[in-house]
């Protein structure tokens, strides 16, 4: 992407007229390369020059939108190979398959099951992003009927899975306004598929036998005016797919190789659920923009959504909640008080368990610069003294008629000082949040 000064200079008028407020075209080009000025500052660039520069300065990997309005999925436009270099921008879309040969009731159940694949983790909604409607045996009308049903029952963006342009067309006719991803153009059908994509302004996936073939396909299809493309990568084995995905990402970012500068889609294969999850895990970590899963069992999907959440968090931003006193449920002066840190993961894990306990509770969150319990301790971001002061600042004593505070089991060492210096009666809670409900039910009541 990063265009050099010289690369830009080639497309400028080279007259050194100075209208841009720089003495020479070269000086202006250098400023442009450093992104300090914008191209409009030169009134004399030709239209071809503008087009070439826009093209050259476009991001190396295209951003592709699937779906419409509030239910759209953005994929692509990644900028790094490893998350520690910056961050990954557009989380892998997780698609689940629906086949078109299901009986009505089965179909309904399946769509409902997919709609239910939503969870809350670390205060964030995570869920499946797409439904892929796979053609197997029905007529175009039969396929359209299923697409329509899926569309009626779910807001999720769609993938129309069929190599047959007639089937794709039937699906598009009933769903084009939702901008489904058409899967897929191949060496054989690309002209028809591309004209469908053009007609319905839908994104189009391409499938080739090799990266070379894929690159040829994108170039041909682009000439027809279709550029919202997704590259389908499925080698015979998971290792092959991993390597192709890696090569595409490197080609895009290290070589600005535009013919493959698009997001990707990969499919899990086989029947064994643990191996399917292994494949999907591989593609989430390593450069898949969409992963198509089989099956709707939540125990298979939850770990995948969790990997995605982990890998796509921004490593440069501490994930912190505001340090203050939180009231969970209808708290009263008898409610227990828990102390924790302001690392989001820590706070939300604790909050979730407090909710599970159904016991109204105060959670006093201490400012620990976004570190969890042991990290804040080892990194000197909290101490008994800091907790004592925080409790004072949060004026918790004015709200309760008891004198007890519950601290995390992992920092039991804080107990004595909190008792001696701050006059609290300290209860050492469990080491894991999961045991908070039973602790509140059994031990808190007894001691308070």
């Amino acid at each position: 992407m990063a265009l050099t000064g010289l690369g830009i200079y080639k497309h400028l008028p080279k007259t050194n007229c100075g209208d841009c407020n720089f003495p020479t075209c070269m000086a202006f080009a250098m400023q442009l390369a450093a992104k300090k000025v914008s191209l409009d500052q030169c009134p004399h660039v030709s239209d071809e020059g503008k087009a070439a520069l826009a093209e050259a300065s476009a991001p190396p990997m295209k951003l592709v939108k699937i779906g419409k309005n509030s239910h759209e999925l953005l994929i692509g436009q990644e900028t790094v190979l490893f998350r520690h270099q910056e961050k990954f921008h557009h989380p892998t879309g997780i698609a689940v398959k629906v086949k078109d040969d299901l009986a009505e009731e089965e179909l309904t159940n399946r769509i409902e099951a997919i709609n239910n694949l939503h969870f809350v983790r670390v205060g964030e909604e995570i869920g499946v992003d797409l439904i892929a409607v796979e053609h197997s045996s029905t007529s175009p009308q039969g396929y359209a009927r299923v697409v329509k049903k899926v569309k009626e029952m779910s807001d999720l963006p769609l993938v129309l899975l069929s190599p047959d342009p007639k089937i794709a067309e039937a699906g598009l006719e009933v769903s084009a306004e939702r901008r489904p991803l058409i899967y897929a153009a191949t060496g054989k059908n690309w002209q028809q598929m591309a004209s469908l994509a053009k007609k319905h302004s839908s994104p189009l996936a391409l499938k080739g036998e090799s990266l070379e073939e894929l690159a040829d396909l994108t170039q041909q299809i682009k000439k027809l005016g279709v550029d919202d493309l997704v590259l389908s990568v499925d080698g015979p084995r998971v290792a092959d797919t991993l390597q192709d995905l890696t090569r595409i990402r490197r080609l895009t970012l290290s070589k600005t190789f535009r013919p493959l500068g698009y997001p990707t889609i990969a499919f899990v294969t086989g029947k064994d659920p643990f191996q399917q999850v292994g494949q999907a895990a591989t593609y989430i970590c390593k450069y898949g923009s969409i992963v198509v899963m089989e099956g709707t069992e939540p125990w298979k999907i939850l770990p995948l959504l969790t990997i995605r959440q982990n890998i796509y968090t921004d490593p440069q931003v501490p994930n912190a909640v505001e340090a203050k006193l939180y009231e969970i449920g209808e708290v009263t002066s008898h409610s227990p008080v828990l102390v924790t840190t302001n690392f989001s993961l820590t706070y939300f894990t604790v909050e979730g368990e407090v909710e599970n306990s159904k016991i109204p509770t105060y959670i006093s969150v201490v400012e620990t610069e976004g570190l969890g319990v042991l990290n804040a301790y080892a990194g000197d971001k909290w101490s008994a003294e800091k907790i004592g002061k925080t409790l004072e600042e949060q004026k918790i004593k004015e709200r309760i008629n008891h004198n007890s505070v519950i601290i995390p089991g992992l920092v039991a060492v804080f107990r004595a000082e909190l008792e001696e210096d701050f006059g609290w009666k300290v209860l050492v809670g469990p080491e894991e949040a999961a045991r908070i409900p039973s602790f509140l039910k059994n031990e808190w009541k007894v001691t308070s």
Binding site: F82, R83, H84, W299
Partner: protein
């Protein structure tokens, strides 16, 4: 269309390390395990060589664990009062490449077992199985410095992997392992520089860098895993780029982390689906992700997770 070349040429291979010694080599193992040696990032066969498949160790303890959930208990409660039988089950029935004996019983805040008792546990595992051993202390520095010397001596020549040395506690164990011919786990708290520093300290005492395995700390899927993942990737890239203090194979201690998190352990949340599958899958998935970041040795607990990760590895280690 011609596709540009994106193969990278890395400066340095990752060190190769062999754990376990056969009778000809001065030990009593019937098998040894070799890991490392890669000249590229995980599973990128198009770019370099990956001569050894990552190895799977199963965890055994010197006491009956109190905090292992029922879903693990159902596989091990018939043997877990006896480390030898427990180890044998892991190897003969469950396909472990190595056994990791964790001396949890020596913890002074727990059963506080003596160095003699620990050495007996080591001996009993060595006698029960032919695979190489990982011997891991209880984590209390002073106690480990009492216990591990006996364990090292009694297994001199076996070329076990001993753990762990840290920035503040390395001298005793480095000296021992040099004397008794073992390998060492160098532990650091999710920190790229501290990991290096431990290796510098140990090698300054004359330990061969090739005798070290890096343990950068592990976190479970959903519980800080991404921090470890990125430290591993950065470290592995540094190693391949020529940093000799990061050129060591990497170990991940997974079972210990996974089997305390709710997603693996709880059967109370219906929306999460079948725990009997979800539990082992949580462990397997944590393993998959660490393998992609560069793990060479995994310590795991659930039999199903172990067998599935093995299958996964077979698919990743072969290619067109």
């Amino acid at each position: 269309m011609l596709i540009p070349e994106v193969r990278q040429k890395w400066a340095n291979p990752i060190n190769t390390i062999t754990i376990g010694a056969t009778p000809e080599e001065g030990g009593t193992r019937t098998r040894t395990v070799t890991v490392g040696g890669s000249t590229t990032l995980p599973f990128l066969h198009f770019e370099g060589k990956i001569p050894h498949r990552p190895a799977l160790a199963m965890e055994v303890q010197d006491i009956t664990p109190k905090d292992w959930p029922e879903i693990l208990g159902e596989h091990f409660s018939d043997v877990w009062d006896d480390p030898g039988r427990w180890a044998k089950k892991c190897v003969d029935q469950l396909g472990a490449d190595l056994v990791c004996l964790r001396l949890a019983g020596c913890d002074p805040d727990g059963e506080n077992k003596s160095p003699d008792e620990a050495a007996v546990a080591v001996k009993s595992v060595l006698e029960a199985v032919g695979v190489p051993l990982i011997v891991w202390g209880c984590g209390d520095n002073d106690k480990d410095n009492e216990v591990l010397p006996q364990c090292s001596e009694i297994s001199a020549g076996e070329r076990s992997l001993f753990g762990s040395i840290t920035e503040d506690n390395y001298k005793t164990l480095v000296a021992l392992c040099k004397a008794d011919g073992h390998k060492l786990i160098a532990e650091s708290p999710v920190d790229i520089n501290i990991a290096k520093q431990v290796n510098v300290l140990a090698t300054d005492l004359g330990l061969d860098p090739k005798d070290i395995v890096i343990y950068p700390t592990s976190g479970a899927l959903g519980y800080g895993m991404e921090y470890v993942y990125s430290i591993m990737e950065r470290g592995r890239i540094a190693g391949l780029d020529g940093d000799t203090m990061w050129a060591m194979p990497i170990l991940c201690d997974i079972g210990k982390e996974v089997w305390k998190v709710k997603e693996a352990v709880s059967d109370e949340i219906a929306e999460w689906g079948d725990q009997s599958q979800r539990g082992p899958l949580w462990e397997a998935t944590t393993a998959y992700v660490y393998l992609l970041a560069g793990a060479d040795i995994l310590i795991m607990r659930h039999p199903k997770a172990v067998s599935e990760v093995k299958k996964y590895l077979e698919k990743l280690i072969e290619s067109k």
